[in-house]
């Protein structure tokens, strides 16, 4: 028994106190998605097993497939990390999408309009993107601190401002001045020195992946091994506790927004320097929002985020292969991804406890009644 306890303590130390529930949660949710998915695919007259095989092959079948899967995992890691930082500290940053756009726009402009030596250029572009994200995130932070405006509303509204603002600049300032004729609202390509190098040849998987993984690891270190991270977590879990404990809540609050906004902007910068090589209007396809969902799936665990992102990216690539091989639309996979998010968010622990409690009470009542029928007086001491 004591050994068991020590082991239990070790597990809790390195994972989280509720690691068992976490595993059960994924197994149940995955089973749920498999069932729902099978029904959905069969309803459209296709074979679910074949569809699944095509998805897996499309995602992992060869080096190109793997590279593409990793390429789409990259933005998920960055936007997911941005979301985790905010959520772990009790702030809801719904503005990652907007921070991503201003980041991407800044990187594209810096990459096209500025001339710098190759290595430095990339760094400047990406750093500029991060700073643009911070600038975009600091507005809601200040509004919350000084005007008590809820960040739910402000971060979300800032998204629309960001996307439309960037498009406006591209269409009315950059395209006319660059003298090129184009049918898409996009900036001219960035200089080759401002591009991240390719990691896997023949695919669009760039060194941005390394940035993504590094960011996840840094977030993990921040929360697990630093005093600042400890304070950030306490602010998120109980603000009053942190305040009386001596945490400077206002300062911490600004830090959260700055970090989250920086990562949001960074994700846009990496998309431009490592993926599109220019700013394209509407490039993100809700990648900023998916970051929030993935953060939710991995229960705000930054290491879990790396794996969740890879699965997410794999599904994205696999869905295209499924679409080519069957009559199914790739939105089917999208739909199932959303189902998974919902299923994972269910409070299984609470449901389990409710039923366990009810069963126990019924058992006790039965035992009690049996005892009474046998004529034995009950345990209580009456008058």
């Amino acid at each position: 028994m004591p050994d068991n306890r020590a082991l239990d303590g070790t597990i809790r130390k390195f994972f989280s106190p509720d690691v068992g529930i976490g595993i059960a949660r994924y197994i149940l949710s995955f089973a749920g998605v498999l069932i729902l998915g099978s029904i959905l695919i069969m309803a459209q007259g296709e074979d679910p097993i074949r569809a699944a095989r095509l998805i897996v092959y499309g995602a992992l079948g060869n080096l190109v497939a793997i590279g593409n899967s990793l390429r789409w995992a990259m933005p998920c890691m960055l936007t997911g990390a941005a979301s985790i930082i905010a959520m772990k500290s009790g702030v809801i940053n719904l503005g990652i999408e907007g921070q991503m756009y201003v980041g991407a726009f800044t990187a594209a402009v810096l990459g096209w309009a500025v001339r710098l030596p190759p290595g430095v250029h990339v760094v400047v572009c990406i750093a500029g993107a991060g700073i643009a994200g911070v600038a975009w995130a600091i507005v809601p932070a200040l509004m919350r601190l000084f005007l008590s405006v809820n960040e739910y509303v402000t971060t979300m509204m800032m998204n629309f401002i960001a996307t439309l603002f960037c498009d406006y600049f591209v269409v009315w300032m950059i395209i006319p001045s660059s003298g090129i004729t184009t049918t898409t609202a996009a900036t001219p390509p960035i200089a080759s020195g401002a591009r991240l190098s390719t990691l896997i040849k023949g695919t669009s998987c760039s060194t941005g992946l390394i940035i993504g993984i590094a960011v996840c690891l840094l977030v993990c270190i921040l929360y697990k091994y630093t005093i600042k991270g400890y304070e950030l977590k306490q602010v998120g879990e109980n603000l009053k506790f942190a305040k009386t404990g001596g945490v400077n809540v206002k300062k911490t609050f600004i830090i959260i927004f700055v970090l989250s906004g920086f990562l949001g902007g960074l994700s846009g910068g990496v998309e431009v320097t490592g993926g599109y090589y220019r700013y394209v209007s509407g490039f993100s396809y809700t990648m900023g929002w998916e970051g929030i969902m993935i953060a939710n799936i991995c229960n705000n665990n930054p290491i879990g985020l790396i794996f969740a992102s890879i699965v997410w990216g794999g599904l994205k690539t696999g869905a295209m292969s499924m679409e080519r091989g069957t009559t199914l639309n790739r939105l089917t996979v999208n739909l199932l991804q959303m189902f998974f998010v919902i299923l994972v968010s269910i409070n299984y622990e609470g449901i389990f406890r409710y039923f366990a409690d009810r069963m126990k009470k019924r058992r006790q009542a039965r035992r009690f009644l049996e005892g009474e029928n046998r004529g034995g007086k009950s345990a209580c001491s009456g008058m």
Partner: protein, 511 residues
Amino acid sequence: MNGDEYILEMRNITKTFGDLVANDGVTLRVKKGSVHALVGENGAGKSTLMNVLACLYKQDYGDIVLNGRHVHFRNSRDAARSGIGMVHQEFMLFKDLTVLENIMYGFEEKTAWIFINKRKTKRKIKEICEKYHFNIPLEAKVNDLPVSMLQQVEIVKVLYKGADIIVLDEPTSVLTPQGVEGLFDAIRFLARSGKTIIFITHKLKEVFAVADTITVLRDGRVTGNVRPEDVNENELARLMVGREVMLQADRSARELGGVFLRAEDVSVRDKDGVLRLKHANFDIREGEIVGIAGVAGSGQQQLVEAIFGLSGVEEGGKITFLGQDITRAEPRERRRMGMGYVPQDRLGVGANALGTVWENSIMGYHISHGFKSKVFLRHKEIDEFTGRVVSQFNVKTPNIYEKLGNLSGGNIQKLIVGRESIQDNRLLIVEDPTRGIDVGAVEFVWAKMLEIASSGRAILLVSHELNEVMQLSDRILVVYNGEIFDGGRYQEKNDREIGLLMLGGGESDAG
């Protein structure tokens, strides 16, 4: 035994919450027209039993027999209609409504089924007030009334709803000694008028003053049904806690050193701009325990918040700590200087229920004297410090990585007190340090606090248990309506004199 003479019988009531058995086959028989005391320590299951009676909880099994008939209430309204009236420990009143509106709420007299007939309702309530000698201003706003008056409002409320059995859940915890006398007079009068009173308390003196019959609960079981004339206080205490207890702090004389904290003309306004603390002046010296007594809501909270830096101080006020002006310093700065704080609200302010035991243990310590590194968490140091809190204060937890929310309330309280005590703070602000912990642990915490004071530190003790303040404090300050009055040195004034001050019967200014 003849069952007819009982107005209420609760038989074999069992109620569990998860693994916790709050009531384990409890049987309670109450005679009509009697005052029945239900006594037991905090957490013995008294309130649970009464909440089952009022149908706020459903029992797992067991029967309720009212006036000789089995009853199955569907909801609390149903219970109220059958004549069960409950006066809760925390008042259930709408603060912004008038007394009249509060009393009639849910049971209004109506014209044509839909319109409230205020005049008729008021007449009815007035009749009740006259019949039972309650003198309350019906048109006054609840917010403007003192606590003892609110209690009367609650009683009239249940009488108006037609209660025959009135349950009073720890009614004296918010009252001064004088207020308690008034309440007892009211209880005796109600009993004479044919109402039945169930009186929940854990204070023995009150039981002997007012009860006809006593039922003792311990750990969810009945440990005795006695009459007050048949037992003495010690015997009753033994039934309650299972052993003899003498709650007396073991004090030894201490040398007082220099001034640690000085408050000069400190005034605090609350969120609504109301002045809740008025021109407080006092000192706390090295090695001293200064106790703050007062009826809840007299300004203690504002006083503590001002000293710890959680709320701003009005212009002109000044707080000096260890010779430095800290009037505008953040709590972080004050912690760094060696100020600790045990808040009254354990889970809301004092701890993070979602965090682990160690995360809760190192809060404050990581700032004040803290760890060697200012950037990284060293788990070795954390384990060592947490281990000290857990072992010295006997916190029951499987390991220090356990989620704090899984610990019991008493253990959480011990952890918070332990965390703040072990940090080597020069001044410790402590609010209700023994709330909700068992008697053995109370003695332990008291001893620890005296030990801290003798080791050259100081304590500001704010407690709603007058006995605690009187036992521990070297000097007592009484707050009344935001003003501070001198309550004398240790044993200089008795509880009646301090009670009078708590009610506003003093004229001398602060000490």
